[in-house]
């Protein structure tokens, strides 16, 4: 019977050690960089044996719904959440996020790209640390451009894009001059069209929150988009989002594609049939001082309901540090380091050599300013979105109207009139007007 106290003692020790270990539940999206991080966390747990990690990976729309429910009810299911630049300013103002002020002395917060940091800060306080950042840019087929007798400038205009699209279109061989997003949604076609409208001098709202779809700048934007897509875009473009266009481009069916910079590694990757023929350029402009590119960052934040704030900040500090970049580089090469967050990465000659699209990504990110996104002044933050809670609903409804215009179900004028009406109504309901 002597073994009973021994067993009880062992049990107590085991219980005590498991009680001292903290488990962080991390909600994240399914993309290559995040999946890679999950595989590399041994480096973190080795130095922090008292912290265990538990992952919840989800498709981003499912994740947004779950995390919003949890954070709004202070459910406390997650200790770290992955959120985008749209949510950060809204949630920070609601006091749903913990300000990140314990990231450590060697974190070097000033090294974060200013455009990205600006989008994740409220009143000068950082509420989320960027894990990877992206903008949008032009990806084009160098061979088709040459065949068309044109040279893509580093910073093209919309008129050049239209001219090139017309010349590259070769319906007989299944080549569409240009592929753009048409699928309805605030993060789908409206991300592209809102960014594009910035370069045309348009804006969602004036300084008094009056919707601006009845202004000539929006008419120019939408008419240009619909005309170009009808002449040079793929069939059924109103159903195409990122993935559909990626599939078309990878199979050599697009002359140009303007979309997220993250696509660069896909179109030059092993699954692409045109990997060695792709060139990059900045998103187009109209000579008004703003380019038609967006700015997005998937960032890590601590919800206010978490009981493990210190451990959570420690992990965030690790995952978004320079050390993590070096870790990825040592294990998987510099080309696989999460892009778009730190200035030092773009000054690193090894990274410049490994990632041919590095300079274009940095220039695209620097060309976007979430705090001054448009030619005329606006009361909101956000390049391809308006950082107010009502935008998800309004943006998706307007996206449906514009998608219908692209599909030929309504005219550009009708779509804009309805967009103006519906936005005005929603803004009145929400108390802005």
């Amino acid at each position: 019977m002597k073994f009973v106290p021994v067993l009880a003692g062992a049990l107590l020790v085991a219980l005590a050690s498991s009680a001292s270990a903290e488990t962080l539940t991390i909600a994240t999206v399914n993309n290559g960089d995040m999946i890679r991080m999950q595989k590399l966390t041994d480096d973190f747990t080795k130095d922090n044996p008292d912290i265990q990690l538990q992952w919840v990976t989800l498709e981003e729309n499912v994740l947004r719904q779950k995390v919003t429910t949890d954070i709004a009810t202070k459910g406390g299911q997650y200790d770290i959440i992955t959120i985008g630049t749209y949510e950060v300013p809204i949630w920070a103002k609601q006091n749903w996020l913990v300000p990140l002020d314990k990231l450590g002395a060697d974190y070097d917060v000033d090294d974060l790209l200013p455009a990205i940091r600006g989008g994740l800060s409220v009143d000068g306080k950082l509420y989320a640390a960027p894990f990877y950042g992206e903008s949008s840019m032009v990806m084009y087929r160098k061979d088709l451009m040459e065949k068309a007798g044109l040279t893509m400038p580093d910073a093209p205009t919309w008129d050049f894009i239209r001219q090139a699209a017309d010349k590259m279109t070769d319906r007989a061989n299944g080549i569409n001059g240009i592929c753009l997003r048409g699928k309805a949604g605030w993060g789908e076609n409206m991300a592209f069209l809102t960014a594009m409208s910035n370069s045309f001098g348009a804006r969602w709202f004036d300084e008094k929150w009056t919707p601006q779809f009845d202004q000539p700048e929006w008419k120019d934007t939408l008419q240009f988009y619909v005309d170009m897509m009808k002449a040079d875009g793929p069939d059924g473009a109103s159903n195409n989002g990122f993935n559909e266009n990626l599939a078309l481009f990878q199979q050599g069916k697009c002359g140009m594609w303007i979309d997220a910079t993250v696509a660069a590694s896909f179109v030059t990757g092993k699954d692409s049939t045109v990997a060695d023929k792709v060139g990059f350029a900045l998103a187009p402009d109209k000579g008004l001082g703003k380019r038609g590119n967006w700015l997005w960052a998937w960032s890590l934040a601590v919800p206010a309901g978490s009981q493990k704030v210190d451990a959570a900040e420690k992990f965030i500090s690790w995952a978004t540090s320079k050390h993590y970049e070096e870790l990825v580089a040592s294990k998987e090469g510099w080309a696989n380091v999460p892009p778009g967050t730190r200035t030092s990465l773009y000054n690193n000659p090894e990274y410049q050599k490994a990632a041919p699209f590095a300079k274009m990504t940095l220039d695209s990110i620097n060309a976007a300013d979430p705090t001054h996104p448009t030619v005329k002044p606006v009361p909101y933050v956000g390049v391809q979105f308006v950082a107010i809670p009502e935008f998800e609903g309004i943006g998706t409804t307007v996206g449906q109207l514009f998608s219908a215009a692209l599909a030929g179900q309504s005219s550009v004028d009708d779509a804009l009139k309805q967009a103006q009406d519906v936005t005005t109504r929603e803004m009145q309901k929400a108390g802005y007007l």
Partner: protein, 275 residues
Amino acid sequence: MARAASTQRKVTVTIVAWVVALVIFFPILWTVLTSFKSEGDAINISHFFQTPWSIESYFEVQSRSDYFRHFFNSVIISVGSTLLALLFSIPAAWSMAFAPTSRTRDIMMWMLSTKMMPAVGVLVPIYLIFKTLGLLDNAWGLMIVLMLMNLPIVIWMLYTYFKEIPVDILEAARMDGATLGKELVYVLVPMAVPGIASTLLLNIILAWNEAFWTLNLTAANAAPLTAFIASYSSPEGLFWAKLSAASTLAIAPILVLGWISQKQLVRGLTFGAVK
């Protein structure tokens, strides 16, 4: 002539049935086929059958996520919620079938009407209740929610089967001195086994496929196969082969169960349909 017309009709019906069956089955077939392709070949529809087949996606899925943990959660939640539902619905269906009142019909219609409410409408209240009771990310919590969700259908199905059982047999049992509990356990349930079995199977399938509550009320510990699939979907990146492999792994167990028990299911679902 009559025979010729009848043969022609049979052939037509058979062809239509095959076409409908193939149309319904095609997405599943395509998912399974896509899961054996590389990511690049999965989107290359024009040369789909010429490109090589591989099981690489299955290895990647298994190395990235713990399939068996999600699988066991799915089994526990679907079987648990079904058993709980039967526990409540057998007495309820008994009372409605054998001791109806003038309001029974209204109650049954009201129960069915609760199915018409969109689930998202009660998400926040349920979430808050779960938070207070500590049931978030907990298999028991999901069993209760799924039981409540499927209860109207289960009661309705059992009611239909119970109505087929002659009330005289139950009365005879009572005459012999059986208590209410004994009448239920030793007389009614054994006689209604085929009906209960098909209800059980259908309820397991419904609970297995439920993707709203299982996604919203779980995080890491109680996440079933629906969360496993959702982790492979992505709006930015073509991961169709891996997504298809994850989907195939998730539906395989329930597909096998459905295949084995199809006779029971069809019999149960059409029971009492022709009178």
